[in-house]
C-alpha cells in the first residue's frame, strides 16, 4: 500500500505542476469547447459524434489524454477505496503497475494493435484518430465507475447484483462505443469490424508474447555477459 500512495502523490503533483504551467502560459492546453461538446454528444448520438471527430476535426488530443489519465486515476482510487464487502482483500489488490497496465497500458496497446491490424485491412484510421476515439469511448465507464465505488459503501451483499449490473453497463457501453468508433474510424462494415476487433485482440496477445520473449532473452544475455565479464576480470 505504501508505494501505492507514493505513486498517487506523484501523479497528483504532476497534475498540479501541469496546471501551474498552463496558468503561467508555459504550456498550452488546446481543448476547444467544441471537442468537449462532441464528447458529451457521444452519449446521445454516438455515430454523429464519431463522424464529427473524424471529418470535422472536433476533438482534441489533450482531452483524450486527460480521459486516459482519469481512467488510471479512478482505477487507482477505486482499487484502494472500494468498500470492504465488494473490494478485494488487501493482500490480493492489484499494485500500481498492474493497474497502469490494465488502464493506460491497455488503451495504448489496443490502439497500437488496432492501428497495425487496420493498416493491413485497408482501414482509413490514423493512429491519432484511433487513440482519440478509444479514449473518448471511456466516457460511460469514467462516469459509472465512481458511482459504483461510492455505492459500495451503502450497499449490502443483497444489493451486490445491482452493483454488478452497473459495472456490466459501464463496461458494455464503453465496448459498444469503442466498436462504433472503430466502424466510423475505419469505414468498415459491421462484420469486418468484428473481425478487426478479434484480430486486434490476437495481435495484443502476440505483442505481449513477443515482448515477454524479448525481455527474458535480453535478461539472459545481460546475465550471460555479466557472468562472462566476472569470470574474466575477477
Amino acid at each position: 500500500m505504501g508505494d501505492y500512495m507514493e505513486y498517487l502523490k506523484k501523479i497528483f503533483k504532476f497534475f498540479i505542476y501541469k496546471c501551474s504551467q498552463i496558468k503561467s502560459g508555459e504550456a498550452k492546453l488546446s481543448i476547444s469547447k467544441d471537442s468537449v461538446y462532441t464528447l458529451f454528444r457521444l452519449i446521445t448520438h454516438p455515430l454523429d459524434a464519431f463522424n464529427d471527430i473524424k471529418y470535422e476535426g472536433k476533438a482534441s488530443l489533450a482531452l483524450a489524454n486527460i480521459m486516459v489519465a482519469l481512467f488510471l486515476f479512478e482505477r487507482l482510487i477505486g482499487e484502494a477505496c472500494t468498500a470492504y464487502l465488494f473490494g478485494a482483500p488487501e493482500a490480493e489488490r492489484m499494485g500500481f503497475w498492474m493497474i497502469l497496465a490494465t488502464t493506460a497500458g491497455l488503451v495504448l496497446i489496443w490502439s497500437i494493435c488496432n492501428w497495425a491490424v487496420s493498416t493491413l485491412f485497408d482501414g482509413e484510421g490514423a493512429f491519432k484518430e484511433i487513440w482519440i476515439m478509444t479514449a473518448y469511448s471511456l466516457l460511460p465507464y469514467l462516469f459509472l465507475y465512481p458511482i459504483s465505488v461510492a455505492l459500495s459503501y451503502v450497499a449490502s451483499s443483497d444489493e451486490a447484483v445491482m452493483l454488478s449490473v452497473l459495472s456490466v453497463i459501464a463496461v458494455g457501453w464503453t465496448l459498444i462505443l469503442a466498436f462504433l468508433g472503430m466502424i466510423v474510424c475505419q469505414q468498415f462494415t459491421v462484420s469486418k469490424t468484428v473481425i478487426l476487433a478479434v484480430v486486434t485482440a490476437l495481435a495484443i496477445f502476440a505483442l505481449l508474447f513477443l515482448g515477454l520473449l524479448f525481455f527474458s532473452i535480453s535478461q539472459q544475455i545481460v546475465s550471460f555477459i555479466r557472468n562472462l565479464s566476472m569470470e574474466i576480470f575477477l
Binding site: 488546446s30 464487502l85 449490502s156
Partner: protein, 493 residues
C-alpha cells in the same frame, strides 16, 4: 597472556550460551491463520505434558499402534503389530492386555487389530483387521457379536475385507470403515447382520471425468476393464462423538469432503466457512511444494467433544487442527519432529479430560497435550458465546485478543455479539477485522437504517437541492457548449 585468553574464551562461551538459551525461550513455532488466510505466529495452544511409551504401561513396547479410544473409565490402545489390545485406566495404569477372545468356547487370537471402540452397550468392539472380522466382546472376552464381510460386493473378488476402524452409535448400530471398500461405511445392525453401505464419498462430475468417459467409449470392453476406474474414495476413519453425530475423515477427496459430519441420512451437515476463498477447506491454508509436488493435508483421525469442537489429525505435516462447530479454525498444534510435543506419524487422537492424547505409530508412544491458559480462554469464550451469553463472551474474547491480537474468531464473535446488542457501527468494524461478510452485511443494513432514520431531516432537502442543482448545471453547461460551437474560437482560451 594465557590467562587473559582463557578468561576471554570462557566469557565468550558464556555469552554464546546465553544467546542460545534466549533464542530457545522465544522460539515458538505455533501459528494460526489470519483473516486473509496468511499464517502468523500465535500463542501455543496445547503443550506436551508427557509422553507415554509402551514400557510405561506394560513390560514391552508398542509396535505400530493404530488406534486409541478413551471411555469413561478406561483407555484402549490397539497395539497392532503385537496383536493385542491394551486396556489401562485413565492414569495409564495397566488393567489388562487382551490378546485373544473366546469364541464358541475356543480361544481365538488377533491378527493385526487396527481399530477399537467401546460402545455404550458395554461391549468392546475390535477390528481384527487381518482376520477380516469385527468382534464385539464382553468383560469376559466372550464374542457377543461378530461382523464379517460375507455379503459385500467389492470392486473385484481379489480385494479382501479388512476392517480398519469401527464406531458404534447408541442404538448399537456398528459402522465399519475398510480402506479397500469404496461404496461407503459398512453398517451392521445390533445382531451383527450387514445392513448396507452408508454415505459413500461422491465422485464429482468434472469436465475431466466426462472427457475420460467419452474416451473410454471408444475402447473395447476388455480395454476398458484394464483402465483405471473412476470410483469414489474410501473413508479412512470414523468417530461417533458424545453428541451422536458421525464424524469421518478421508484422504485425497474433493475439497470439503476431507472431514464430514454425517446425520442419520448420511448427509454432510458441516458447513465450511463462508469466507472460504481458496480451494482449501480444512488443514493448512497455505499451500507448499516439496520436490515440485503440492503437499496437501490428509487427515487420518478425528475426535469431537460434546461442544462440537473437533480435532483432526493431519498425517502429512503431523499437525492437529482444532475447529469449532462452524468449522472455524481454533488452533493448530503438533508438528513434525523428534522432540517432546512433536510427532512423526500421528494416527489417532482422543480426549482425556481437557487434554488430547495423540498416538504416534512411528515413535510408538502417546503424547499427552494439555491446554494452555490461552486456549482455555478461547474455549470459555466460545462456550459463553454458543450458550447465548453475548456480553460476557465479549469480555472473554477481549481477554483472548490481549494474547493474540490477530485471532479471527474473536473479532468475528465480538462483532456478532455487538450486532445482537445493537451496536452496529462497532460491530461492522469488528466483523471487517474478522472477515465475516455475511454478518457485516447484516450489520451494514441495520446501520444504514439507523443512519437514515436519524439524518432524514437534512438528507431529504439536500438530495432535492442536489438533483435540482445537477439538472440546472447540465442545462447551463450544455447551453454554454452549444454557444461555443457557433463561435469561431477553435483553440479555446
Amino acid at each position: 597472556m594465557k590467562r587473559f585468553l582463557l578468561i576471554t574464551a570462557v566469557f565468550l562461551l558464556a555469552l554464546l550460551q546465553l544467546s542460545v538459551s534466549c533464542g530457545a525461550i522465544t522460539v515458538n513455532d505455533s501459528y494460526m491463520y489470519d483473516e486473509d488466510n496468511r499464517s502468523y505466529h500465535a500463542p501455543e495452544a496445547y503443550s506436551a505434558e508427557k509422553i507415554v511409551y509402551g514400557e510405561d504401561i506394560t513390560d514391552s513396547a508398542l509396535r505400530n499402534p493404530q488406534d486409541l479410544y478413551v471411555s469413561d473409565t478406561n483407555i484402549y490402545i490397539a497395539d497392532t503389530e503385537n496383536n493385542r489390545i491394551i486396556v489401562t485406566d485413565l492414569d495409564f495404569g495397566l488393567v489388562e492386555v487382551i490378546d485373544y477372545v473366546i469364541e464358541n468356547g475356543e480361544q481365538s487370537e488377533f491378527f493385526a487389530p487396527e481399530g477399537v471402540f467401546y460402545g455404550k452397550d458395554g461391549l468392546l468392539y475390535i477390528c481384527d483387521t487381518e482376520n477380516g472380522r469385527v468382534v464385539a466382546i464382553d468383560k469376559n472376552r466372550n464374542v457377543v457379536r461378530k461382523m464379517l464381510g460375507e455379503n459385500l460386493v467389492a470392486v473385484n473378488e481379489s480385494i479382501q475385507f479388512k476392517p480398519s476402524k469401527v464406531a458404534v452409535d447408541k442404538d448399537s448400530t456398528v459402522y465399519v470403515v475398510a480402506p479397500d471398500i469404496y461404496q461407503g461405511i459398512l453398517q451392521y445392525n445390533e445382531k451383527g447382520e450387514f445392513m448396507g453401505f452408508f454415505a459413500p464419498n461422491e465422485v464429482k462430475v468434472t469436465i475431466g471425468v466426462k472427457l475420460i468417459a467419452m474416451w473410454k467409449d471408444i475402447f473395447s470392453d476388455e480395454q476398458q476393464d484394464k483402465m483405471e476406474k473412476n470410483l469414489p474414495l474410501p473413508y479412512n476413519n470414523i468417530y461417533i462423538g458424545k453428541n451422536g453425530y458421525i464424524y469421518t475423515t478421508a484422504a485425497n477427496v474433493e475439497v470439503g469432503d476431507e472431514i464430514k459430519c454425517l446425520n442419520a441420512l448420511g448427509d454432510n451437515i458441516l458447513r465450511t466457512p463462508q469466507t472460504l476463498r481458496d480451494a482449501v477447506a480444512f488443514g493448512d491454508l497455505e499451500t507448499s511444494y516439496e520436490n515440485g509436488e503440492l503437499i496437501s493435508s490428509s487427515f487420518t483421525d478425528i475426535h469431537t467433544d460434546e461442544d462440537g469442537i473437533f480435532c483432526a489429525v493431519d498425517s502429512t505435516r503431523c499437525r492437529i487442527f482444532q475447529y469449532d462447530r462452524e468449522c472455524n479454525m481454533i488452533s493448530i498444534f503438533g508438528g513434525r519432529g523428534d522432540e517432546k510435543g512433536k510427532l512423526e506419524k500421528p494416527v489417532a487422537i482422543e480426549k482425556l479430560g481437557d487434554s488430547y492424547l495423540v498416538l504416534d505409530a512411528d515413535r510408538n508412544c502417546i503424547t499427552v497435550f494439555s491446554p494452555t491458559d490461552y486456549i482455555v480462554k478461547v474455549h470459555n469464550a466460545l462456550e459463553k458465546y454458543n450458550t447465548g451469553l453475548y456480553s460476557e463472551s465479549v469480555e472473554e474474547w477481549q481477554e483472548v485478543l490481549k494474547l493474540n491480537s490477530n485471532y479471527v474468531i474473536a473479532y468475528r464473535s465480538i462483532g456478532r455479539a455487538l450486532l445482537q446488542e445493537g451496536d452496529f457501527k462497532e460491530a461492522m468494524e469488528m466483523l471487517q477485522k474478522g472477515n465475516d461478510p455475511y454478518f457485516y452485511s447484516i450489520a451494514l443494513k441495520e446501520y444504514r437504517k439507523e443512519f437514515v432514520r436519524y439524518n432524514l431531516v437534512w438528507m431529504l432537502p439536500l438530495a432535492v437541492i442536489l438533483i435540482v442543482g445537477l439538472i440546472f448545471a447540465v442545462k447551463f453547461i450544455r447551453k454554454w457548449l452549444i454557444s461555443a460551437k457557433k463561435g469561431i474560437d477553435r483553440n479555446g482560451d
